[in-house]
């Protein structure tokens, strides 16, 4: 249990854990605390925060409850972030493993595709993909993953290049395993840990990309997200800036929480030896 104690001793890690637990609780309890559609009109319009006990964070210009939107928005933001990052890591690890394991022309071709995805701004690609396929939750998830899978692919390939020379891979070849089976069952699981270490950065990036997409009106219109709340509040930015500022704070807490948590975890695993 040493790593756990190490983790609890790092103030960054604990702060990150608290932020994520807070948001996860908000996301999970949102349908219980605020049943029904968060996009439904609940009260008078443009109520400032802390003025009415029934609407602690006020209402927007259509009279929708900001706190309900914030909690339901946490659901959408975290779900999309985690789903997009999972797709990106899965695809990236798969492509990277195949490229590294196959070598030769296959490797060359796959890596040129990775290059191509890397030189196109991921956000433009997501914009184009959503505009072609229509805004729905799965499309947004895929669009974000489209710009995020190259990092894991490069890392997985680099790992595989070193792993495929190991003895156990040679042994698997000797007992007559199919190359595909070796790649997926022997090499991939061993190449995965460093790739998974990237996941915090990718989840954080995915949450931010989703927010930017829905800010530009390219998110699923039937789901309330923090980005769409900021865009909605922008219409009354001069008179009621809190409508845009509050969901943005949610975003900062989510992304910062992910970063701090991963920093605390990696420090705990590395045993705090990196103090100069």
């Amino acid at each position: 249990m040493r790593p756990v104690r190490q983790f609890l001793r790092s103030p960054e890690g604990v702060a990150g854990l608290l932020m994520i637990v807070l948001l996860a609780t908000a996301a999970l309890t949102a349908p219980v605390v605020f049943p029904g559609d968060p996009l439904a009109i609940r009260g008078p319009a443009l109520l400032p925060p802390f003025a009415d006990a029934a609407f602690p964070l006020g209402t927007d210009r259509l009279g929708r409850d900001v706190l309900a939107g914030l909690m339901h928005g946490a659901r959408a933001s975290l779900a999309v972030g985690i789903a997009a990052a999972s797709v990106a890591i899965f695809v990236g690890a798969l492509v990277g493993t195949l490229a590294g394991f196959a070598g030769g022309l296959v490797d060359e071709a796959l890596m040129r595709v990775v290059d191509a995805f890397q030189i196109v701004p991921g956000f433009l690609l997501a914009l184009a993909f959503v505009s072609v396929s229509g805004a729905s939750l799965p499309v947004v998830i895929l669009a974000i993953a489209l710009g995020a899978w190259t990092g894991p692919a490069r890392l997985a390939r680099a790992e595989v290049l070193s792993i495929r020379e190991r003895d156990y891979v040679a042994a698997a070849r000797v007992i007559g395993m199919h190359p595909m089976e070796i790649a997926l069952r022997e090499v991939l699981p061993n190449a995965l840990p460093p790739v998974l270490a990237l996941s915090s950065v990718i989840v954080a990036g995915a949450v931010l990309t989703e927010a930017a997409l829905s800010f530009l009106g390219l998110g699923d219109p039937n789901i309330v997200t923090w980005g769409s709340m900021i865009a909605e509040g922008r219409n009354v930015l001069r008179s009621a800036p809190f409508l845009s500022i509050i969901p943005g704070i949610g975003l900062v807490v989510a992304v910062l929480g992910v970063y701090l948590l991963s920093e605390g975890l990696s420090e705990a695993i590395a045993g705090r030896r990196s103090r100069a």
């Binding site: 196109v120 930017a212 930015l237 943005g248 975003l251």
Partner: protein, 329 residues
């Protein structure tokens, strides 16, 4: 210089197939979109009979297969012809080139701000790893890095544009002000302050963190110990030995971040109503102009390649080891 030239030539050759993949990929992605230019046109004029539809398709070449159209598109690209924008009724290359300068100003200023301020603060932070200043800057930069740039832009414009009324919050210059020369430049600069801050501060945090990590690493190396043993002043060790070695990875990072910065400016341009390249992308999406969108993606890919070429050359000049093993053909 010859080393840098060889490196440049090799990079240019390898970037051709990559660009080709980008063109073909985006072509088929947008090919998958429901409807074509003729459908959009018919919608705008309120429909037409089948003979008209077939005639239009033939005149636009839309009756041919996707592969034939791709081949025609690639041939046109060789003549630097990106096609015709239905939305603007002008050649796509003209539209893109008209919008590019605003974005380049925005990105260039943001890079200058983030790189200089980020590396300077990174030196402060990395001069004494673990000190109070370091802890403060680390937490501060991490928080800043978690802030979405478009939200930072909105908050900045509420504070400095709406509350304090110090700076303009929209556009690239005052409309019909009749300003010329230096006055006009000053006017544009004032309009750029908030968008550059919103885009640049996020990347400043990134450069700060990289500089700090690089310096912490350099402190552990033997040359830092040797410099200390020689009794050099701490200030001199920090600047001449430790910081200098940590600066190189920052140059690489600049190239890696070029694409994401270009993507980030799409949102920033929308927040501050800057008529730039990114705003054009959004207009192309809204106007369903697929050809324009392909052109935008292609030009941005070329831009990212160009930035990376510059970064490579700078790197080769700074670090004599790079490209030394290049075969001298």
């Amino acid at each position: 210089m010859r080393r840098a030239f060889l490196l440049l030539r090799r990079r240019l050759i390898t970037s051709i197939p990559v660009l080709l993949i980008v063109v073909i990929g985006t072509f088929f992605l947008l090919e998958a979109a429901p409807g074509d230019a003729v459908d959009a046109y018919l919608l705008s004029i309120g429909g037409g009979d089948p003979a008209l539809v077939a005639g239009l398709r033939e005149s636009y070449g839309l009756d041919r297969s996707a592969w034939a159209r791709l081949a025609a598109y690639l041939m046109a690209l060789l003549r630097l012809d990106l096609g015709w924008s239905v939305l603007f009724g002008r050649p796509i290359l003209d539209v893109v080139m008209e919008r590019l300068p605003a974005t380049l100003w925005l990105m260039g200023s943001a890079v200058a701000l983030s790189f200089s301020l980020g590396s300077a603060l990174g030196v402060v932070s990395g001069a004494r790893p673990g000190s109070a200043a370091d802890r403060l800057l680390s937490v501060g930069s991490l928080t800043l890095y978690a802030v979405p740039s478009f939200w930072l832009g909105l908050v900045l414009s509420v504070i400095f544009g709406v509350q304090l009324r110090w700076l303009p919050t929209a556009g690239l210059e005052s409309i019909a002000s009749g300003k010329q020369g230096f006055e006009r430049a000053l006017d544009i600069a004032r309009h750029l302050v908030l968008p550059v801050a919103a885009l640049g501060f996020i990347y400043m945090a990134l450069f700060l963190r990289m500089m700090r990590a690089g310096m912490a690493e350099a402190w552990r190396q033997d040359f830092a110990l040797a410099a200390r043993a020689r009794g050099l002043a701490r200030r001199r060790i920090v600047l001449r030995h430790v910081a200098r070695n940590a600066l190189l990875p920052l140059v690489t990072m600049l190239g890696l971040q070029a694409a994401s910065m270009l993507g980030g400016s799409v949102v920033i341009e929308s927040v501050f109503a800057i008529p730039g390249f990114g705003r054009l992308a959004q207009e192309a999406v809204a106007g369903r102009d697929a050809a324009l969108l392909i052109g935008i993606i292609l030009v941005s890919a070329v831009l990212v390649i160009a930035v990376n070429l510059v970064v490579d050359v700078v790197y080769a000049v700074l670090d004599p080891r790079v490209g030394a093993s290049e075969p001298a053909t």
